[in-house]
Symmetry: none
Subunit: 204 residues, 4 copies
Amino acid sequence: MTEARVPAVDKRRAILEAAIRVFARQGYHATRVSDIADEAGVAYGLVYHYFRSKEAVMTELFTERWSLLLAASDALYERDIPAREKLDGIAGFIIDSYKHDPELMKVIIIEVTRAANSFGATHLPEIRRAYDVVAKIVADGQREGLYRAEVDPDFVAMWFYGAIEQLLSGWVFGLMPATDEEFDRARVMVVETLCLGLERRGPG
Amino acid sequence: MTEARVPAVDKRRAILEAAIRVFARQGYHATRVSDIADEAGVAYGLVYHYFRSKEAVMTELFTERWSLLLAASDALYERDIPAREKLDGIAGFIIDSYKHDPELMKVIIIEVTRAANSFGATHLPEIRRAYDVVAKIVADGQREGLYRAEVDPDFVAMWFYGAIEQLLSGWVFGLMPATDEEFDRARVMVVETLCLGLERRGPG
Amino acid sequence: MTEARVPAVDKRRAILEAAIRVFARQGYHATRVSDIADEAGVAYGLVYHYFRSKEAVMTELFTERWSLLLAASDALYERDIPAREKLDGIAGFIIDSYKHDPELMKVIIIEVTRAANSFGATHLPEIRRAYDVVAKIVADGQREGLYRAEVDPDFVAMWFYGAIEQLLSGWVFGLMPATDEEFDRARVMVVETLCLGLERRGPG
Amino acid sequence: MTEARVPAVDKRRAILEAAIRVFARQGYHATRVSDIADEAGVAYGLVYHYFRSKEAVMTELFTERWSLLLAASDALYERDIPAREKLDGIAGFIIDSYKHDPELMKVIIIEVTRAANSFGATHLPEIRRAYDVVAKIVADGQREGLYRAEVDPDFVAMWFYGAIEQLLSGWVFGLMPATDEEFDRARVMVVETLCLGLERRGPG
DNA sequence: GATGAATGAGCGTTCATTCAT
DNA sequence: AATGAATGAACGCTCATTCAT
């Protein structure tokens, strides 16, 4: 039968997408489960039919997206390209994710990744996995004699993510201009400056 | 030198210091006012005798410390020293603050500076002021022909703080080894790498 | 006649009726929300499911009843009967309300109508509307030459309600015998005495 | 040295007078003990030095004034003057009290006399004593054949006070114009109308 | 007498979660 | 699947009263 108008008859999906909007708008703590249901246009109880808890909604949102980043990072790492391009690929993936769905990325960065006291703690393993790829890229670069040996790769990884997340925060909260050109400039700047900072100098 | 510690007769001070410990241990949201009172060894109501609200306690903690950072940044900025030393001074101030009172810095970084949805929003002006000093240092460096002109100073400032706060987070949550030597290494690495990344290369 | 009582399946109604009993027994300020819930035999939170606040419960109680008085007053005013009968109708309506549901009327008189500092202030407009009808009746009586012209109608209205509410108070607090005969006697006495006091005397 | 400027060096008195102002302004429930102390310009604890409790302050305010009314009523009752003049004397005393110190009378009427659930209950005996004098006057009037026999004297007393207090309320809350002429008119109207309503008619 | 710090019981409200239908 | 009524623990805040000085 026809009724083809609404493709998203999938209420579970509707709830997830409503959650993105509401979490982005009000923050996780400030949103009540009823807000999600209202935004999704479904009954209160249905949220609990599909999800164990409010936290489970957030977790699914995070995991779904973060696993893409992990997969992309892993794929990049495996490719036979210069370290710089790998880092650029990761930065690009994150920034493109933001361009593509800023609300979701806002939620992930603000409520999970940088919320070390709440979801950050819960999802620490997955978060570290992303850091580790960066660290491995840097370590490889050092092994190749490309990067200075005295910088700790783990340390660089923290730095890399700290910087990028801070930029996203800046865009999210209007501290920095958020246009597509800015996003691309930022990507170049981060990678360029970081790599220049890491590279070994001169023949000496 | 002896640093004459006030014998905690001052209950207001005792409350503030108890709050640092409890906020650091449990996070702001998870600490009840009674936790603070208990930790301070005072009656529940006394917290409200000295502070308008739980939030006011947090605010005082943040403001007290952050104003020191602001003052130090301003002083550094005024001094007639190379840009690199200024940045090093700021990084050093933050890291020393952490060495000196890790719990307080944990609270400030985790609950305010990186909590863009709650206290971060409230204290945005003061937070930005700290960023601005870094941006000005970078801009000066550019004007002097020291730093590459194509990097946006505001952008570098975000980066700088994003990176340092991420490092603090790493220490706080045990993602990175947290010893005094590590702190000092980190300081050197951050500033060294950032400056190298920013510097213009010679004609050669 | 049967007066088909709703079998208190309606929990919202149960809460309202419990509130009447508890407010009447303890007074508004002295009743905790949990008292209402307990009296109604429902969970604490259900009160807040149906009402925004404790005050909202009181407001609904008052408004529901007072609007009946207003409607009755208006209807009486419109009818083509002597002023005295109109006043008698109003007095009768109030007193019958008390006979019918003394607890509710106690709450309304004690906690709202005579509580000028709390609910009285909030509901002043509705309260005044009731006074105004009496004033209009008196003014009409004066225009017809029935009542002495030198008495201010607004003034009489205040008096009328002040007196009647005082009588209700007296019954409520056991200062006066409260039997059905007393109620009817009181009604007669108030209206009789007031009207005699207002009437113009013959030339004789 | 002289310091004769402030006659009210009596801090106890200052507290009482401050309480009148604050109770009148905010109502008893809404005033905190600290409000009284602040208004009086004395230390918090001093209120408790002179008074057992917040309630005790209110009680003293009420008792002090109400005993004057009682004394005046008794005196009036004893005098060899017509009933009407006695009633007029009582109404006059109350209204003059209001003219003389509206804030105090506001507090007494609003917070005690008409607050049957709180102070009204506590001071019921004294309040009734005032009513009783009126009742006795009416009863005497009936015995003299002046007043209709079918009205219950207690009932008239309730009415009398209910009406007068309602008028005071009206003035206090701006429902009626409150000028000195109005006060005097009101006094005349109340007594005139009440007595006309009570008087026996007819040739006899 | 005078001060104001210290105490702690009390209460309104919120909201995640469960459950009956 | 879908609904929304029902539950109750939890917590921030107020403020009368006490107490040490």
